[in-house]
């Protein structure tokens, strides 16, 4: 396998895409949003259980490629228990890692398991797949509304 493919499909990514965490509708969910990636047909619904400003529970359902599923799975684990502001800040850092790569201002090491997505920037066509869940999260935090599209 070529090194950049190994960077993209890291073990953690494959694992999370095959066994996505929080792949469910959480009980007591009080926010939801839909995300669409028309390019590859990814569709996801993201659910939040917000208690005040804290994401008490999170889950998602839908169909998508390995990158979008793994990204949603990793994100759900990372933001559970975080406040809205903390989640927004994490969004910014992940987005910077996905679009700017090693030249950017974010050191993937600081992002824990989310660092598994650090190889995506080498695949411009796949950045949308990796960021879909995050855009959908932002939409759900803002109260849902129209489906989020990566186009």
């Amino acid at each position: 396998m070529s090194p950049d493919l190994r960077d993209l499909y890291q073990e953690v990514v494959i694992d999370h895409s095959k066994k996505p965490r929080n792949f469910r509708k959480p009980e007591g969910a009080n926010r939801s949003a839909e995300g669409l990636n028309p390019l590859c047909g990814d569709e996801m619904t993201l659910y939040l259980k917000l208690a005040g400003d804290v994401i008490e529970d999170i889950g998602f359902q839908g169909a998508g490629c390995a990158i979008s599923k793994a990204s949603a799975s990793l994100m759900s684990s990372a933001v559970k228990g975080k406040t809205r502001l903390e989640a927004e800040a994490l969004f910014e850092r992940v987005h910077s890692m996905l679009t700017e790569g090693p030249e950017g201002k974010v050191d993937p090491e600081e992002l824990g398991k989310l660092a598994a997505l650090s190889g995506v920037w080498e695949f411009p066509a796949r950045v949308k797949c990796a960021s879909l869940a995050w855009h959908t999260l932002r939409s759900a935090l803002a109260g849902g509304g129209a489906p989020v599209s990566t186009e």
Binding site: S2, Y9, I14, L39, C40, G41
Partner: protein, 420 residues
């Protein structure tokens, strides 16, 4: 069947393509991508262009560039002659009765929109129906949806079987007294199914329903004769026929084009203009407002010359053989399922590989130098009918060889390794 004439010794076999020689006409194919030889299997999205097409466009801009239909000077005469010459080439290529039945537009999408917005708007009213099929490309769905919405008409959808073949009996039942038009593809872009269009046109005509054929995927693979098919409209794009992007064709029967109102207003589409009354130019100019894509039409003409020299019957025979080879080869890949197994197929192979998402298949293949299309192929209703979100699609042209198929198969084994 006619008896083949005996060949003179040493003459090229008229039924065999010298693919290696033809590939030399396509400079883009001689390159490495991702440090691997390029294996281009995405011709259904857009075909590569032979040197002859690129040169024709170059020559036009270098030597003949001028506006058409209005100059008194020599360059304008030459440009007009080349542009109208391209129209005659298209006429000959699809067997139309008259050159004025050929309208130059941006592509198949624009051609279908033109018919919807002129013919459709003047013929379809509240309670009427437009019939399409479940296999259509979005460009042969959405313009009709927009028309039906505007007019209070209904869009009906003819079904298919699981192999991707239209169910003609069901289609026939859907053609009723309120059906104003049947619009369908000649060849399915997502599955490759070749529809029995002659039979379908006959069926529709028996009920007085005109037929539009979207020939975007047929033109590069099959010899087309619009008079033999009997269709009322036929649309196709230059860029899928080894020509440039931005140019396409609408064929319409003369009497239909004559009675249709113009679409866009502007220069060249008028006969005379005053603030009180404007009269329209003759067809096809009535539908070609503004300066057309002159270079594009000339490039398309060169593409038609090229394809005609190679010979569509030979291309069809060669691709049929290659498709058979590819179909068998793909089925040796464990977990691979072909989507679309119509008896009559053009050189398109849609497939799924286990539970690996097509987008991931495409990314790994790209790293191996193999270019395919993944996604819903602008046919989301078809994907829904098939119960899949997307497929991977390898599409072949006459410049592909068995070794390209072998490279695809080898790369698919790589995909399996990555997602093991």
């Amino acid at each position: 069947m006619s008896v083949p004439r005996r060949r003179a010794a040493g003459a090229p076999n008229p039924t065999v393509l010298d693919v290696e020689k033809l590939r030399k006409d396509f400079p883009i194919l001689r390159q490495e991508v991702r440090k691997k030889p390029l294996v281009y299997l995405d011709s259904a999205a857009t075909a590569q262009k032979p040197r002859a097409v690129i040169d024709a466009i170059d020559r036009y801009y270098l030597e003949d560039n001028a506006n058409v239909h209005r100059g008194v000077h020599l360059l304008s005469e030459r440009a007009t002659e080349a542009y109208e010459g391209a129209r005659e080439k298209v006429q000959g290529f699809i067997g139309a009765a008259h050159a004025h039945e050929i309208v130059f537009l941006r592509g198949t999408t624009e051609a279908i929109n033109l018919v919807a917005q002129t013919y459709g708007r003047s013929r379809v009213s509240s309670g009427d129906e437009v019939l399409v099929t479940v296999m259509e490309h979005h460009s042969n769905i959405v313009p009709w949806q927009m028309l039906c919405e505007e007019k209070g008409a209904a869009l009906r959808v003819a079904p298919m079987d699981d192999a991707g073949q239209l169910l003609l009996d069901e289609m026939e039942k859907l053609i009723g007294p309120r059906t104003r038009l049947l619009a369908l593809g000649h060849v399915s872009n997502a599955l490759g199914s070749i529809h029995p269009v002659r039979e379908i046109v006959e069926m529709a005509h028996r009920r007085g329903v005109p037929v539009l054929l979207d020939g975007a995927q047929a033109a590069p693979h099959l010899a087309i004769d619009v008079r033999q098919i009997g269709c009322d409209f036929y649309a196709f794009s230059g860029h899928k026929l080894f020509g440039p992007t931005g140019i396409g064709v609408l064929y319409g029967k003369s009497e239909l084009l004559e009675e249709m109102p113009p679409w866009q207003g502007g220069g060249d589409m008028i006969s005379s203009v005053s603030f009180e009354k404007t009269t329209w130019n003759k067809v096809p100019h009535k539908f070609e407002a503004g300066t057309p894509d002159i270079a594009g039409a000339i490039g398309l003409g060169a593409a038609i010359d090229y394809v005609s020299r190679v010979g569509l019957p030979r291309i069809a025979a060669y691709e049929h053989d290659l498709l058979g080879y590819a179909t068998e080869a793909l089925q040796t890949v464990p977990g691979l399922r072909l989507v679309g197994t119509a008896k009559e197929k053009a050189a398109v192979l849609s497939f799924l590989l286990g539970d690996v998402h097509p987008h991931d298949v495409g990314t790994v293949l790209d790293r191996e130098g193999v270019a395919i299309r993944t996604g819903h192929h602008c046919a989301q209703p078809l994907m829904r009918r098939l119960g899949v979100a997307a497929t991977a699609r390898a599409s072949l042209a006459f410049y592909n060889r068995r070794e390209d198929v072998d490279a695809l198969v080898k790369a698919l084994h790589k995909v399996r390794e990555v997602f093991a």
